[in-house]
Symmetry: C2
Subunit: 125 residues, 2 copies
Amino acid sequence: MTRHGIILLAHGSSDKRWCDTFEALAEPTIKAVDNSRIAYMELAEPSLDTVVHEGIANGTLEFTVVPLFLAAGRHLRKDVPAMIEALEKSTGASIRLCPPIGENPLLGQAIKDVVALQLGHNTGD
Amino acid sequence: MTRHGIILLAHGSSDKRWCDTFEALAEPTIKAVDNSRIAYMELAEPSLDTVVHEGIANGTLEFTVVPLFLAAGRHLRKDVPAMIEALEKSTGASIRLCPPIGENPLLGQAIKDVVALQLGHNTGD
C-alpha cells in the first residue's frame, strides 16, 4: 500500500509568533493523524517543497494538502495549485488539494463556541 | 443594562466568493448570539465603522470584536487596535478586541475533525 501523507498548509509569515499560532492549531491533527505535518506556502520553513521532498524520501508518494486558510483567495485559487502541479511533475508524487478548512461547516460551529466562551456563557444549540 | 453587540471581524476582499465563505462561517454565531454581526476590516461592506455606527443608532454602546483570523499579524496587532481606538474616541462606545479565533484550542480540534472527514475516517480522540 502506498504511504499517504497529510500536509496542513499555512500561508507563512516572517513573524515567529504567527507561525507559533499555526503550529498550535496543527498540533491536535499531527498527534492524531499518522504522517501529518505542517508546511508553509511562503516566508517560513518548512516549505511545501521541503515537506513533499522529505515525505518522498521516507516513502510517501501520495499527499493530501489541507489548507489552514479560512477562505480561498488568489493563493489557493492560483498559486498553490501551480506549486502542486510543478511538484507533481518534478517528483512523480500525487498531491490532492482540499478546500480550505473554513469551507467546512465544523469551523462555523467552532467559531460559535469560541464566541460563547469569550462572552462567558453558553448559547445553547 | 447597556445593550451589548458582537462583531465578527473578517479581513475583507473584493472577491465576493471570499466574503460568501466568511458569511457562512459567521452564520451559526449570528443565529445563536443576539445582536451579533459580521464586519470587514477593508475591501468589503459592511465595514467595522458602519457596524459600530449602526449599532450605536440601535442603542448598543458596548461591543466585543472577535477577529475571524487564524493568527495575529500586523492587521490585528496594529491596524485594528488603531481603528478601534479611533472609533471609541469619535463615538464614546466601548469596544473590546478579543484574540483571533485561531488562538483558541477549539479551532485546533475543529481542524483535526475536518482533516479526519477529508480522509474519510475518524481518528478517534
